[in-house]
Symmetry: C2
Subunit: 423 residues, 2 copies
């Protein structure tokens, strides 16, 4: 029976039952974490062969470059080829960096502030105001990068096909709007795949700002867990088709292919932008970890081999997502108190409860030993205006623990909703 169709007495009865369940779960002294998109240990274990791919000293020298010494700021050639293969762009459009694509995103924006971009009229630090489009719910770390630079964050509603392009097209007429965040494939947190129509409208945008940054964080480009690999358009050539040759900055990493924190991050952009960025980066560093780049090239080999590895990750991840969806389907769906997407890739499930229930739900979860992503984190400034979105990150805990955590979450969501409805 739906909560909204219950009488007060029925809600009170339901509340007492759920409260008893909550106390029972709480007494287990759980310490579970569904807060961040961290791979589980089993996933880390399957890629350990990466440390065996460079057996002799001679193996560290490739294309005449000793990966153990200084040099090759923009990455070793083989790594550019590998990532161009995966992303569908050209090797000359790829900058291979260190262990984190987030750092490349931050650096690109930071340089816009301290130096200006190639097509900037002035440094962004000299702009009276910089505005930035944030499709939401979205990735909290993206929003925080924008926020830390003092940008004005503009919330763009997400639709089932991607960002609301009517809103985007209106906002970009303002020259103070300098960029837009995107996780176009299996968006964080909803797992939405931008539709071809939305992607084409994005590529065809005509922003008033000459240095508009289309930030295309293709974090989950090959990260299907319940589907074969889904081909995805190369945004850089699509932007070129519409005369936006220099608008797009694409990012990807192997953080969820090999190791989070010890993978390889890349930025792809027009050759002009890569050259400009490389020149600025040449002041910041002599080069990134080429041994790790080479290790990845030897281990991942090419797109086909990499996709085969992703199938193995999928086998580990699928039961975890199934456990979450099964819990929601059986415990929450009948009550009519929340909705959620059913992603086939990415690292999250996004849950929308009734207005005003997210914070309370997560506070109860914490009380019962389950750490979740903070309420509001998926919105600009960390504030969910409806206080309803909950991000579930089911990848880290083993399946049995995860089932307990989902049990806790469902119980807490029920309690919070009943409290909201009145008990």
């Amino acid at each position: 029976m739906k909560y909204t169709e219950m009488t007060l007495a029925e809600r009170q009865g339901a509340y007492a039952a759920e409260k008893a369940r909550f106390e029972e779960l709480k007494s287990l002294g759980l310490k579970l974490n569904m807060a961040r998109g961290k791979p589980g240990t089993e996933q880390l274990d399957i890629v350990m062969d990466i440390f065996s791919v460079l057996p002799t000293n001679a193996d560290y020298i490739s294309s005449g470059i000793d990966s153990r010494n200084y040099g090759e700021l923009s990455g070793i050639p083989e790594a550019k080829v590998l990532f161009a293969d995966i992303l569908g762009c050209k090797p000359s459009q790829v900058f291979v960096g260190g262990n984190a694509s987030l750092q490349l995103m931050y650096d690109a924006i930071s340089k816009a502030y301290t130096h200006g971009l190639k097509r900037s009229v002035r440094k962004w630090s000299e702009e009276p105001v910089v505005k930035w489009l944030c499709p939401a719910p979205g990735y909290d770390r993206h929003f925080k990068v924008s926020e830390t630079f003092g940008m004005e964050l503009i919330t763009i509603p997400m639709t089932a096909e991607g960002p609301d392009m009517d809103a985007v097209e209106e906002w970009i007429q303002d020259p103070a709007v300098k960029g837009m965040w995107n996780v176009p494939k299996y968006s964080n947190p909803q797992g939405i795949v931008y539709s071809d129509a939305v992607i084409e409208r994005i590529a065809a945008m005509k922003p008033a700002a000459p240095d508009f940054m289309l930030m295309w964080d293709n974090a989950y480009c090959i990260h299907e867990f319940a589907s074969d690999f889904v081909p995805f358009p190369d945004i850089i050539s699509l932007c070129e088709k519409f005369g936006n040759d220099h608008m797009c900055y694409e990012f990807a990493s192997t953080s969820k292919v090999t190791f989070p924190g010890a993978g390889v991050g890349v930025m792809a952009a027009s050759e002009e932008n890569i050259a400009y960025f490389t020149k600025l980066m040449s002041i910041q560093t002599i080069g990134f970890d080429k041994i790790n780049q080479l290790r990845h090239v030897r281990y991942l080999k090419d797109k086909e081999t990499t996709l085969a590895l992703m199938k193995r990750h999928a086998e580990i991840l699928r039961p975890k997502f199934e456990a979450v969806l099964h819990g929601l389907d059986t415990e929450i769906a009948p009550l009519g108190i929340a909705s959620w997407e059913r992603p086939v890739g990415g690292y999250f499930v996004s849950l929308d409860g009734m207005e005003g229930t997210a914070k309370r739900t997560l506070a109860l979860c914490a009380e019962a030993g389950v750490t979740m992503t903070g309420a509001g984190a998926t919105f600009p400034y960390g504030v969910d205006p409806a206080d309803r979105n909950i991000r579930i990150a089911p990848t880290l805990p083993p399946v049995e623990e995860l089932k307990q955590a989902v049990d806790v979450l469902c119980t807490c969501l029920k309690l919070a909703t009943l409290e909201k409805l009145g008990v």
Copy 2:
């Protein structure tokens, strides 16, 4: 016979002889490089055991932290202990970063511009002018970091004991002077070790700027090649002694201990500054490569083991520096046309020729196939006002090649000097 004591005819005779020698060397079609402080292949080969220190999956988990997963932004605890041991500071004062200390220096300064430091009155991007003290000759990459942010670079003369502190103490009375570069032990390029008296004067400085950055790039802290390890004061506690608890930012890396580009870089500073920097960095990245940090901890173990490894590097490096000094002693010293230091550590020999000879010398070297650090690179804005300083980086070429390169350099220096004197 000294060139300055020669008659025109004698100089012409000497010039003809050297010119013939030059053509002979040129005809060898050499392709030698003494431009950068790159370790040689033999040095890279002796540290390859670092890849054997983590044999099983369980080895990657240390102090309860799985180095293969996200987290531990400021570095793994064991790495902080190791670097504190080497630098003589406290583990709580250490931030362990990625593969490059230069990137940490850049980031610290970049954040002063975009966010301000903990004790800044305002962001540096809002300062009308930022001035920076540059002891010169110095490290070109330091100066370029300052230059890229638009600072006004102030040249401070180097003495045999370190920077001219009278000049420094006068300049820091200007609140626009926000910092100072230092390579205090085996300075780049002269190999000068700051004296205790100079270090104490530095630690006791009272800069007008509340957010003055004493940049202490201890790049060669354990890099003796012709001496046992020379103990060196911990600058952080020395600054504390004089009430300058938060003035110093120290940097070091294993780029020349293990691998350039695949080592570990660290920043050491007051706990307050480390906490502030860590908070800002938390927006930029989820964390650095902890697997590489752990690998270094297991391999280098402690200061004693690390110093033993440095002895092995020294054995490789010593003959190279001896070859340079032998060449200069035999070919140049009798002519009285240049002076140089005799460092026992670091990566360079700094040569001061007669005024107006450096550019010409290096152009001739290039013509004969020997690449050297660009003339002027060791001075702010890349301009050596006397056009006399030449940085010799003898570490990369094998000894036999190096002897040839030194031969070329001496010949070119003689030609340039004779041209200057008139032939």
